[in-house]
């Protein structure tokens, strides 16, 4: 713009001078001879030419140089103190450039000294961090820390392994979750189970209970059966600020445990009948010595048949289950009052059924149960009662009954249909939100308990009773101390971050979550060529997370052009057997969920994705930022906006180029370095950045 103004100004000046010359000539012509006239005109033209040459030289030497100096200066003072200006031109400009470089030299020294100080402090922190990382990776349990909104702030590798989906499960599970900083835990674990546990913990915290860990068994979205312990993270007040989850794989454990159950049942219940038959037959023979021959033969036959069957069964069991006799599966120990409270809350809040507890359970009454399952079972029954018989008030009671605890749901109703009640026990609790695929009877059996329905005809009082196992109260445990140091996969700053407010557009660039990505292709035509590799990494809270990556080769089902192979080194035969774009794109789409996409020359990649829309049914609607355009925004006077040139300008080491992941990571580093430069130009929000990109010249480049 300014350059144009200058040129216009000088052009107008020239025209003015030309007109002046013409006027002088007009007045002077009659006085001059023909030769003199030619001389004057030639002189005027010469003067004009010299003048415009002078103007052009002046512009090149001073204006352009000054502007480049300003840009270089900005680079030095913001992102790359090692940058030196190489502006050439008149003596004054060279002197200025020399002064700037001298300043840069000193500035760099100051910064380096400062950096050394910071590094020392950082090293100490790093050592501490490494210790915690080591500790985390040594743990035999998966660990995750989340804020109250369920955003993951920290995780260890085992947690990631336990919860992640393998490439094989991509296509089958569209709702597949991912473990990553800032991602939601509810993508990988059932929301209702965690919410229930948190409610329970809040209650226990409020009553200053020493038991502040809740345990449950749940299946992750990848199908893995996990045993989970959840502990709250408290603020100075008693408010829960977040929670720690520890995860244990129980698929194996539970398989062997249920086999053990079968064995145990086979050995106890399985032999009761045959022994009863044998015993009855022997006792009968003994009691009646004069028994008639025909009956006697019958009884002998029973004895021989049953004893043979018993022997065979024992042999079979010992060989089949020899390996399964191990430790017993543990249910959670919880105080009876906590369970009753959870059930009451659930009835009142979720079902709007007025619930009264007949008597507070004895403090010494502790149950050994899966609290979640029991609450779900009770909720299921009352939901049905309300729906089928309009019951809107119930009483609940929990009391010791011998070695067991009896939990009752009691209500008054004249309209009762016992058959229906009984049939409920065999229905699956599949109410959409809860996702428990067990029947009430199975839940009772799982606990070694029972459940039944009864009604007193005279009073019209009906109840469901569930017998549950009890246990001795455990010794009190102290709360786990959460380290404040920062292990590998952490971001405790997310603790302070408010939930997503407003649209992405108005959010600050420094606070958004990004996916930097790149693709490699069979060639350079976005319409005809195919994707052969996608690499991506996430930027959360201004940090490029090198461990949260997407790195996948894709079988393009066509040949890679030799020219392309020369660039990225991937040949056709290296791609055989990898997933196809139809499999990879949905997974990638899921990976980039809720983030802003950042790519270098992103228009090319987006065009490639767009080509696949109809075939994969995947549309990328994320906002997209292009580092090529942003570079043109921050350095409009530079002509080279290639990845290498930008990296060099911003002082970024180039490693691992020309793999999709390598380029994506480089793009990420570049993008982060650009943020302060953008801010300097008043580009603060995503909307600002998108607008500025649109306005740059390169935006007009269409593929």
């Amino acid at each position: 713009m300014e350059r144009q103004k200058f040129e216009m100004f000088f052009s107008l000046g020239s025209i003015f001078l030309f007109l002046l010359g013409m006027l002088v000539a007009f007045i002077a012509i009659p006085m001059l001879g023909k030769e003199q006239l030619i001389l004057v005109i030639a002189g005027a033209i010469l003067i004009l030419m010299v003048l415009s040459l002078f103007i052009s030289l002046f512009f090149q030497s001073y204006i352009v140089s000054a502007k480049r100096l300003a840009e270089d200066m900005r680079v030095i003072t913001t992102v790359n103190p090692a940058w030196r200006t190489d502006v050439d031109g008149p003596v004054e400009m060279r002197k200025l450039a020399g002064a700037i470089n001298a300043f840069a030299e000193r500035y760099q020294t100051v910064l380096e000294n400062q950096a050394a100080e910071i590094e020392r402090a950082h090293d100490e922190l790093e050592a501490e961090k490494k210790r915690l990382v080591a500790l985390m990776s040594e743990l035999t349990e998966g660990v995750l820390v989340c804020n109250v909104e369920g955003q993951i702030l920290l995780y260890n590798n085992l947690a990631k392994e336990l919860l992640s989906h393998t490439p094989e499960s991509w296509t089958s599970s569209s709702a597949a979750g991912l473990v990553g900083l800032g991602r939601s835990i509810f993508g990988v674990l059932d929301r209702s189970v965690i919410t229930h546990a948190l409610e329970e913990l809040t209650y226990r915290t409020e009553k200053h209970s020493a038991y502040v860990i809740s345990r449950f068994v749940t299946s992750a979205t990848n199908g893995q059966l996990l045993r989970v312990a959840i502990a709250p993270i408290l603020q100075n007040s008693q408010a829960i600020n977040g929670f720690v989850l520890t995860l244990e794989d129980t698929t194996q454990h539970s398989k062997s445990s249920s086999r053990r159950d079968i064995l145990l049942r086979a050995l106890t219940e399985g032999v009761r009948s045959p022994i009863a038959n044998i015993r009855a037959a022997i006792e009968t023979i003994e009691a009646y010595p004069n028994i008639r021959q025909e009956k006697l033969n019958q009884l002998y036959h029973v004895i021989s048949e049953e004893s043979l069957a018993l022997s065979a069964r024992l042999d079979e069991l010992t060989t089949e289950y020899a390996s399964d006799i191990r430790a017993k599966w543990q249910l959670e120990k919880i105080p009876g009052s906590d369970l009753l409270w959870a059930i009451q809350r659930r009835f009142e809040d979720k079902l709007k059924v007025s619930t009264r507890s007949i008597a507070a359970p004895e403090p010494s009454l502790w149950l050994q149960v899966d609290g979640y399952l029991v609450v779900q079972a009770a909720t299921f029954l009352v939901r049905r009662l309300k729906k089928s018989f309009d019951v809107d008030a119930v009483q609940i009671n929990l009391k010791q009954a011998g070695r067991l605890a009896a939990f009752d749901i009691i209500w008054e109703s004249s309209r009762v249909d016992a058959d229906t009640m009984w049939s409920w026990q065999n229905q699956i609790l599949d109410s959409n939100s809860d996702g428990v695929s067990l029947t009430i009877r199975e839940i009772a059996e799982y606990h070694g308990g029972e459940v039944w329905y009864q009604r007193d005809v005279d009073t019209g009082v009906a109840y469901f009773r569930m017998l549950l196992p009890t246990t001795d109260p455990p010794p009190a445990r102290r709360m786990p101390v959460v380290q404040s140091s920062r292990p590998e996969y952490y971001d405790f700053d997310l603790f302070r971050r408010a939930g997503k407010i407003g649209s992405l557009q108005s959010q600050k660039l420094s606070e958004l979550t990004y996916t930097v990505f790149d693709t490699e292709t069979t060639g350079l035509d976005p319409v005809a060529d195919e994707i052969i590799s996608i690499g991506a990494a996430r930027i959360v809270n201004g940090r490029l997370l090198r461990q949260e990556i997407f790195d996948q080769l894709v079988d393009p089902r066509r040949a890679v052009s030799p020219m392309a192979t020369n660039i990225h080194g991937i040949s056709t035969d290296m791609l055989a057997g990898h997933p196809t774009i139809e499999q990879v794109l949905p997974a990638f789409h899921h990976f980039v969920e809720d983030t802003v996409l950042v790519g270098h020359n992103a228009a090319f990649d987006m065009r490639l994705f767009q080509q696949k829309e109809s075939r994969t049914d995947i549309r990328f609607t994320n906002p997209v930022l292009d580092t090529l355009l942003l570079s043109a925004v921050v350095h409009p006077s530079q002509s080279d906006h290639s990845l290498e040139a930008i990296a060099e300008r911003l002082g970024i080491d180039i490693v691992g180029r020309h793999t999709a992941l390598g380029d994506a990571l480089l793009t990420g580093d570049i993008f982060l370095k650009m943020l302060p430069l953008l801010a300097e130009r008043g580009i603060i929000t995503l909307a600002d950045a998108l607008q500025a990109s649109k306005e740059t010249f390169y935006a007009r480049l269409k593929y």
Partner: protein
């Protein structure tokens, strides 16, 4: 007049002994091999006592017990439940549902007949 006992059990090997013992003890008996047959015979045979196994095909013993207790016509019918599970919770359930006695397998046949005698001699006012 001889009292009537309905044996409900799908295990023929226990029935071999039970039928003989009941006969010797002076009872009239009928045999049902599952829950459905039991319900039918309850109507036809109107037993004084039902010797009821828990693990039955179609309708299980608890269910049969409940249905008997729901019907006023059989209010006086005694129920002795037999089970091969022998767990405390089941016993509690059986008794809660109105069984007069609950016996787990294996059992003493002498005790069983004694129990049946006791229950049937009793007016039915006391439950065991």
């Amino acid at each position: 007049m001889a009292k009537r006992v309905l044996i409900v059990d799908d295990e023929k090997n226990i029935v071999v002994s039970l039928e003989f013992l009941l006969e010797q003890a002076g009872y009239q008996y009928e045999i049902a091999r599952d829950g459905r047959e039991a319900m039918a015979l309850l109507e036809e045979f109107s037993p004084d006592l039902v010797l009821l196994d828990v693990m039955l095909p179609h309708i299980n013993g608890f269910e049969v017990c409940r249905r008997i207790r729901e019907n006023a016509q059989w209010a006086e019918t005694k129920i002795v439940m037999l089970t091969a599970k022998g767990q405390e919770v089941e016993m509690a359930k059986g008794l809660a549902l109105g069984a007069n006695a609950y016996i787990s397998k294996p059992f003493s046949t002498k005790m069983l007949i004694q129990k049946i005698n006791e229950i049937l001699e009793d007016d039915g006012t006391t439950k065991v």
